[in-house]
């Protein structure tokens, strides 16, 4: 069973959600299609509130939310079996064992995954008879992830799925998320890690102060802003004008400080080859050559004027 690819998996229009005097989500629009969508933003941007509204936990103060075409509050009974949910933390009986809880969630679904295979896949077998409260943070995270996918949902919501994980565990989680996509499961994940969004997502929605301020594929978002940069060191006083002539139009070249050069433009393999062959023709050994790609971090900085990990 697949969702109709023409229907967005999540469609949010002008969502407003307030907690007392505080406005957590302030007129947020978001359309997420099949694939992996990352909701990226700093802590307090409204990511979790947005996702929890999609999961039916929060009632919008204004605006509309549709998940797989359904209203998450009024049509919750029809929606719940079709989605998988990973909360930011908790969600498990403190005295339950990992396999016991996972088997239980599996029993609430009609066609669950093979629990033993999933335990194996996520390395939860080593938890043995340990109760949830004594598991490591990473094991608790992986169990929560397993609980989100065990019911074979069409759409999975992962709230900060790799928060607090070591690099190896993060990569294992990313791998599973990619496998989900390959098998036709859509994923909405929140993160404040740029690299996670860049590595994983087909589509990134950057959220700040309760609004989506930019959305697109990581490549498109990174291309959108300032140009990429190539830097190299060489002997001081090179003929920059001659270098510029060799470069495609739209590029720039400058000696920033004596012996340190910067080239900007459409920095790709071709431009790199042009620069190095120019150096070869002029008997210059370019040292410490570096390509600085424009990252989501830069995009975020340009859009909001602040660092993401403040």
């Amino acid at each position: 069973m697949h969702s109709d690819p023409a229907v967005p998996v999540v469609q949010i229009q002008a969502l407003v959600k307030r907690y007392g005097p505080k406005t957590a989500v302030d007129g947020l629009d978001l359309v997420a299609r099949a694939g992996i969508t990352a909701v990226l933003g700093p802590n307090g941007a409204g990511k979790t509130t947005t996702v929890e509204t999609c999961e039916g936990y929060r009632r919008p103060d204004a605006g509309t939310v549709r998940v797989l075409g359904l209203d998450p509050v009024r049509q919750a009974a029809r929606l719940r079996p079709r989605i998988g949910v990973m909360l930011q933390s908790g969600g498990v009986y403190s005295g339950a064992r990992a396999d016991e809880m996972l088997r239980h969630v599996a029993k609430l679904h009609a066609h669950p995954l093979d629990v033993d295979a999933l335990i194996e896949r996520l390395g939860l077998g080593s938890c043995g008879r340990t109760s949830y409260r004594r598991l490591s943070g990473g094991q608790q995270q992986r169990l929560a992830l397993a609980m989100a996918v065990v019911g074979r949902p069409e759409l999975v919501f992962l709230d900060e799925p790799t928060a607090g994980l070591d690099p190896q565990a993060r990569r294992a989680t990313w791998e599973l998320v990619r496998e989900l996509r390959e098998d036709g499961v859509s994923v909405i994940l929140t993160t404040h890690h740029m690299d996670e969004a860049e590595q994983l997502a087909d589509d990134v929605a950057i959220v700040d102060a309760g609004k989506v301020i930019a959305q697109g594929s990581p490549e498109r978002l990174c291309r959108g802003g300032a140009e990429n940069t190539l830097r190299f060191s060489g002997r001081p006083g090179l003929d920059v004008a001659s270098l510029l002539k060799a470069l495609p139009s739209g590029s720039s070249a400058a000696e920033i400080v004596p012996g340190s050069y910067r080239v900007t433009g459409d920095v790709g393999p071709q431009l790199l080859a042009t620069v190095t062959s120019w150096c070869a023709q002029h008997g210059v050994m370019p040292e410490r050559i570096a390509v600085e790609r424009h990252t989501l971090e830069d995009v975020f900085l340009e859009l909001t004027g602040k660092e993401l990990r403040a």
Binding site: L87, Y93, G95, H109
Partner: protein, 256 residues
């Protein structure tokens, strides 16, 4: 997109009955595995029954001490599971996001509450079986109408469940833990469980008799010790508590 991958979507809720049965089984296992809960639901009632039946500490009036004590301890067992145990467990489930996570599962909220009630009833059956065997070994000779006993136990369970869930769904988990244990202790002493209510001054007694624990212990004693018919007064008190408690819990319970 392939249609045959490991994770290919195939969503669907399990049949409702199976979900509720699975949930009730899990809740019961969690309860029986928890040492503090067992202390409350099994060890304390058993100790009180054995100790006070064999050692003459409290004047239990005419007749065998066990005939007075067994109904009171059964009432205590119901309170320990339906009220104290359920309040503490549910309070921490709320605190640790268990209720929240289950609310996103195919199990409807009323299904979760039904499962909790089933789990309480299963636990009570185990408690009552154990305490009955011990009481009989101590020479208990129960009398009276089993239907009246059944009604008292069910209404008592409903009354205590309402109050326990009200507490768990409104207070912080730590506050629930403290308050539920304190109430357990106070009602153990002042609810006619092991200390006859006629030991209290007249004025206090008329108030204490309106407590759900007093109505349950008194009603069970009327039937099991004195062979009374339907204890209508006690049943009415328990019904009032059940209606008020469950309505308030339904109105004020917060899932997060």
């Amino acid at each position: 997109m392939t249609a045959t991958g490991t994770y290919s979507p195939r969503p669907g809720a399990a049949p409702l009955g199976r979900m509720i049965a699975a949930q009730a089984a899990l809740e019961t296992r969690m309860l029986l595995r928890n040492g503090e809960q067992l202390l409350l639901t099994v060890v304390i009632p058993t100790l009180l029954l054995v100790l006070f039946s064999t050692v003459d500490i409290v004047d239990t009036g005419e007749g065998k001490a066990v005939d007075f004590l067994a109904p009171g301890v059964l009432a205590l067992a119901v309170m320990s599971t339906a009220f104290t145990g359920q309040a503490i467990a549910t309070g921490f489930e709320r605190r640790y996001g268990v209720l929240k996570r289950l609310a996103a599962s195919p199990l409807p909220r009323w299904g979760l509450m039904t499962a909790k009630s089933l789990s309480v009833l299963v636990t009570e059956v185990l408690q009552i079986a154990l305490l009955t065997v011990i009481a009989l070994a101590l020479g208990w000779s129960p009398r009276g109408n089993p239907v009246a006993v059944f009604l008292l136990l069910v209404l008592g369970t409903a009354a205590f469940s309402g109050l326990g869930l009200l507490m768990a769904g409104t207070l912080k988990a730590e506050a629930t833990l403290a308050a539920a244990n304190l109430v357990f202790l106070l009602l153990l002493v002042g609810g006619g469980v092991v200390v006859p209510l006629d030991k209290f001054p007249e004025a206090a007694r008329s108030v204490l008799e309106l407590l759900p624990i007093s109505a349950l212990s008194g009603g069970l004693r009327d039937v099991l010790q004195h062979g009374a018919g339907m204890p209508w007064g006690e049943l009415a008190v328990l019904t009032a508590w059940a209606v008020a408690g469950l309505a308030a819990a339904g109105r004020f319970f917060r899932w997060e």
